[in-house]
């Protein structure tokens, strides 16, 4: 391992410009991936926030006894798909409606709104089928007069989410593939620059695994350094966007570390492919 590290450093020292060029190329290809991921993260976050508002509102028949309502609330709260059940009295309903209407609040000066129970769904159970199924079960309670859960927009929201996830996955894979190709090409330049050494190594009996080692370290280091640079650039871009256009969320620490690890992995895969190709030829 010591020798592999030394050979890696010799490679860096011998062609510093090539190394800098490789790292920059890797950084920019990962930066493009990072920007795309940033958009994906923010879309996901926004959709998550909207999704968390998915709720079923069951309007209660006039004069339903309190003990019946609270027993039903206990039952509904026990559904595994349900995260929270809340009773909204006619007064609270009026106050909420007035707050939501703002300047038109006077419309409700003397109105009467029915009491309701609001049901929030647990994460992972906010898809249209589940919401519809739970709404159906709640409708079967005798004292439920009417039920609303925004059928249309739940359906649309879920569709948007699925499209966003699929697009994200496809584009993400495409970006990752481009990054692997670019990293592979830059490492290939490093391999070509050291073709003489490789031929001498083979001549004196070095195994393929041994020859590969310094290049894998090289790819790993370039991947990490390129990844760090890309992370910095993405952070800078997110700051610029936040200040000038729209508030954006940056990657969590875990996601950023995962990105770095991904960069390193891409570096290793890229070098492994390049060296492998070269070794098959010689």
């Amino acid at each position: 391992m010591r020798l592999a590290l030394r050979e890696t450093m010799i490679g860096f020292r011998r062609a510093p410009m090539l190394s800098v060029l490789s790292i920059t190329t890797i950084a920019f290809s990962l930066f493009a991936f990072g920007l795309f991921s940033l958009v994906a993260v923010n879309i996901r976050k926004t959709l998550g926030e909207v999704e968390s508002r998915v709720e079923i509102r069951a309007f209660l028949a006039d004069g339903t006894p309190v003990e019946v309502v609270s027993a039903a609330m206990g039952d509904i709260g026990a559904f595994p798909e349900v995260s929270r059940v809340e009773y909204v009295s006619p007064d609270s309903a009026l106050a909420r409606a007035r707050a939501e209407l703002g300047e038109f609040k006077d419309v409700f000066e003397s109105a009467f709104l029915p009491a309701s129970i609001d049901i929030r769904m647990r994460e992972g159970h906010r898809d249209p089928e589940t919401v519809k199924m739970i709404a159906g079960r709640i409708r079967s309670f005798e004292f439920v007069d009417d039920i609303r859960y925004g059928e249309d927009w739940v359906d649309k929201l879920y569709r948007i989410r699925n499209v966003a996830t699929a697009t994200g996955l496809v584009l993400g894979l495409a970006f990752a593939a481009v990054a692997v190709i670019i990293i592979g090409a830059t490492i290939r330049m490093a391999v070509m620059a050291r073709a003489r050494e490789i031929s001498i190594m083979r001549l004196v009996g070095a195994t393929d695994a041994f020859i590969r080692r310094p290049f894998l370290i090289d790819g790993f280091l370039k991947g990490v350094l390129g990844g760090l640079l890309a992370l910095g650039l993405t952070w800078f871009a997110s700051q610029v966007i936040s200040r000038n256009f729209i508030q954006t969320a940056f990657f969590s620490r875990g996601l950023a570390s995962l990105g770095l690890l991904g960069g390193a992995l891409l570096g290793v895969i890229g070098s492994s492919l390049s060296v492998g190709r070269h070794l098959r030829k010689v």
Binding site: I200, R202, V204, A206, F210
Partner: protein
């Protein structure tokens, strides 16, 4: 030790470069490989260190058979033989010592033994005092000696030399050839491809001449027959 049995080598572009080559090189022998340029000398040498594999026929080198040989086995075989080229193939940015040590480092030799083995090899080729010199600071003859030291440092059973004196002046040629004789005298076989017929004539060593990919003359032919019989 080295056996070629009805060996053919064909390249997609250049066609057949070796045809029906059968030969045997015994332990500790010194063999010259002669013939015009493009006759197939280098291809034959490449088959010995298994840089190339025969298109047809079989090559055995120190018990390793070319048919179905794995890359790992080739790597192990090369640790037991030394190869020297006309263009030295040294690492230009490393000292003579580092060039020789490289051959030991890449096969994971114990670090404690590397220094002494390198010093011994450099002494053997008469460059004990030039260990810290860079290749560009050395003459052609000296660079070839470093290459020979690198080839010798693993105590090979055979030294394969492809025109080792091709780039050297007469004086350096004599020096390098004498060194190869000394190496051979200490028990290492030498297979040397050369154009230098004067060198071949004076030495009296076994000579194999190749022309258009075929062995057209082998001064040790009778001997070879005997060895093949013993092997059979």
């Amino acid at each position: 030790m080295i056996r070629f049995q009805h060996v053919y080598k064909e390249y997609p572009r250049t066609g057949l470069v070796l045809q029906d080559v059968s030969l045997f090189v015994g332990k500790g022998e010194f063999v010259f490989l002669t013939g015009p340029s493009g006759a197939g000398k280098s291809s034959l040498l490449k088959l010995i260190y298994m840089e190339e594999l025969p298109t047809k026929g079989d090559v055995w080198v120190s018990g390793v058979r070319s048919k179905g040989v794995k890359r790992k086995e080739v790597a192990k075989l090369r640790r037991k033989l030394g190869v020297v080229f006309q263009d030295f193939r040294l690492l230009e940015d490393r000292t003579a010592e580092a060039n020789v040590a490289f051959a030991l480092e890449v096969i994971d030799a114990p670090r404690s033994t590397i220094q002494s083995k390198v010093a011994r090899a450099l002494t053997q080729v008469g460059l004990a005092a030039k260990g810290t010199s860079m290749p560009r600071e050395m003459s052609g003859g000296e660079q070839q000696r470093v290459a020979i030291a690198r080839a010798l440092v693993n105590d090979p059973f055979v030294l394969v030399a492809d025109e080792p004196t091709g780039n050297l002046d007469e004086r350096a040629t004599r020096g390098v050839f004498q060194l190869l004789r000394d190496i051979n005298a200490s028990g290492t076989a030498v297979v040397m491809a050369t154009h230098n017929l004067e060198l071949v004539r004076r030495s009296g060593y076994r000579t194999i001449e190749i022309n258009r990919g075929q062995v057209v003359f082998d001064s040790g032919d009778g001997d070879r027959e005997k060895k093949v019989e013993v092997l059979a």
